[in-house]
């Protein structure tokens, strides 16, 4: 099957070669050089990745089966940390938060980013619009956290605004109760993260061959049809990047929660990464924290493999 495809590709190649390639051939007419190995191209990336991953992952796996608390020599305690983690009464709430973060990240920044990228492309002033949505991404996490904390605080800017326009009924302690604390932080994260999605989809849209768009326009396609029939299918590669990255990042949500609520009050807004950090670095329970890290890592790996695998397989025959 794949041989046939390859053959037909070869056949097509001969007839559809660009002029510059044909010219070059007549000049040099050389055989294919042996050159460097296919695997040579992986070496720099692999070295960097392994250099910072091997020891930390090994160490975390080791600590996760010990009772390490930093000072005394750790004792081997088998899977006890994992057992304790699974019976943690707050675990369900934490996992629910992770799920909310993940779904919301797929729905909000990804969807809004796609809408904005599509609308912006080809419009006058597109560079200005894109820059506006990118501004939050440029800011440091320190500034973004301080800003949104002050917006959602009980005495904060959002409540002041609601009072001034006569919507006292909607005044709320945004960060003090579940689930509005998680929702408030998701809004902040959406504000900060949409710009990245806009640029990624812009790159994808720019890459759609112009003649396919023109042909459809000549055929009388309106912009709705144009988007779904021409642009959307050709965004499949960039879509995988956006969704894959959004999934991995939302499962590991840490910074914004740590800055805005610290996971509180009474752990109601914790995510797995926050639980892990609090256990390991505030309570010095390295063994227990490492077990959570291993669990989180397995979760991210599973979700990423499942979500990307279909795409990878299809491309394998390319």
């Amino acid at each position: 099957m794949s041989n046939k495809v390859e053959q037909s590709n070869r056949l097509r190649t001969k007839s559809s070669q660009p002029i510059w390639l044909r010219m070059k051939r007549s000049n040099t007419n050389q055989k294919r050089k042996a050159g460097v190995s296919t695997y040579f191209f992986f070496i720099p990336a692999i070295i960097c990745v392994l250099a910072i991953l091997v020891y930390p992952i090994g160490k975390t796996l080791y600590l996760s089966v010990t009772d390490s608390e930093g000072l005394l020599a750790p004792n081997f305690i088998g899977l006890k940390n994992y057992q304790n983690f699974l019976v943690d009464p707050v675990l369900r709430a934490t996992l629910t938060n992770v799920l909310i973060w993940t779904v919301a990240t797929l729905v909000l920044p990804v969807f809004i980013g796609l809408v904005i990228a599509t609308m912006v492309s080809g419009v006058t002033g597109s560079a200005v619009y894109r820059m506006i949505f990118l501004l939050p991404y440029v800011l440091s996490g320190v500034a973004v956290g301080a800003l949104w904390f002050n917006i959602f605080e009980t005495e904060g800017l959002l409540n002041k605004f609601l009072v001034s326009v006569g919507l006292e009924n909607f005044v709320n302690s945004w960060l003090l109760y579940y689930p509005q604390n998680t929702i408030s932080m998701i809004i902040a994260a959406t504000w900060a993260g949409t710009g990245l999605v806009v640029v990624l989809f812009t790159v994808g849209i720019q890459n759609v061959p112009l003649h396919t768009v023109e042909a459809a326009t000549i055929d009388g396609a309106n912009s709705w049809v144009l988007f779904w029939k021409i642009i959307w299918p050709q965004l499949r590669y960039i879509r995988a990047v956006v969704i894959g990255t959004a999934l991995a990042n939302s499962l590991r949500t840490f910074d914004i929660v740590w800055v805005m609520t610290g996971g509180g009050p009474s752990r109601s807004s914790e995510t797995l990464a926050v639980t892990m950090y609090r256990e390991a670095f505030l309570l010095n329970r390295y063994g227990y924290g490492s077990a959570i890290a291993v669990f989180l890592m397995l979760l991210v790996v599973t979700v990423s493999v499942v979500s990307l695998r279909g795409g990878l397989k299809k491309e394998a025959t390319l």
């Binding site: 070669q17 990745v49 160490k59 820059m131 949505f133 939050p136 917006i151 950090y277």
Partner: protein
């Protein structure tokens, strides 16, 4: 067609205003009068001292060494990671190596690990190998963490490059290196440019690896410097902190304004 774009512009303007209002709050409060500043942010303009606050932020926070280091980390880190990532992506897409999936997941692995988990072990291994508090040590971490996204993005962008172009060039006797430099690199310019901008920004704004793996002022990156100074002097008020982060964000904002044109225009010329 015209009706279309009026509608588009109205939606975009509404969304832009929503996106800009927190920026307004940030700027109003960053430039507020420090003397009369009370603990909280405000909607109204309470004093307008941009120059004074910027000067104070610059001198109090001592931003110059951090800025210098950041340019090194940002340019080298983003540049190397995008280059290494695009080499690997090229091999996976064009050279048909065995065990494609395995290579993919090994290089992508950093993106699957919670970064907080890396902190202590990296500190240990850096202390043991003499990489602690060195530029090259921190750079290695930045490059490694920036590789997976750059790899994923460039790989998927390269998948859209026609297979026929690759085969034609190979039939013509182009070496692998030539195929990479003459065909894939130019055709991936937009994706690689975007990857560079994102990774530059990520490295530029990094706080926690800088805090964990460095200690001296010349080595420490900018955000880590700002955050420690805030901790040391309780009397530094919020507007000054915000001004310091605004100064820190100017180079990245500038890069986006220039870079966006480059990678959008570059693509149009290329396709």
């Amino acid at each position: 067609m015209k009706k279309d774009s009026v509608l588009k512009h109205s939606v975009l303007i509404v969304l832009s205003l929503i996106w800009l209002s927190p920026i307004y709050l940030l700027i109003v409060n960053a430039f507020a009068n420090v003397e009369t500043w009370e603990a909280n942010f405000d909607w109204s303009i309470k004093g307008w001292n941009p120059v004074e606050n910027f000067q104070k932020a610059w001198t109090v926070a001592d931003l110059a060494p951090g800025l210098k280091s950041n340019f090194f980390y940002g340019i080298m880190g983003a540049g190397l990671s995008v280059f290494f990532a695009s080499l690997a992506a090229f091999s996976i897409v064009a050279l048909n190596p065995k065990n494609k999936s395995l290579w993919f997941w090994v290089i992508y692995a950093v993106n699957l690990v919670p970064y907080q988990m890396l902190l202590l072990p990296l500190f240990e291994s850096f202390a043991a190998t003499g990489l602690y508090d060195t530029r090259w040590g921190l750079l290695l971490v930045y490059v490694a963490i920036a590789i997976p996204f750059a790899f994923f993005l460039s790989r998927n962008h390269m998948l859209s490059i026609s297979k026929e172009v690759v085969e034609a060039s190979q039939l013509d006797g182009a070496s692998k290196m030539q195929t990479y430099f003459k065909i894939f690199l130019p055709l991936s310019w937009s994706a690689l440019g975007a990857a560079f901008l994102f990774q530059f920004t990520w490295i530029w704004n990094d706080l926690v690896f800088g805090l964990t793996l460095t200690t001296s002022a010349e080595i420490r990156p900018l955000m880590s410097t700002i955050s420690t100074l805030v901790g040391q002097y309780q009397n530094i008020k919020m507007p000054i902190v915000l001004c310091a982060t605004l100064i820190a964000s100017l180079p990245t904002a500038f890069l986006y304004i220039v870079g966006q044109r480059l990678f959008v225009a570059g693509l149009k010329a290329g396709s």
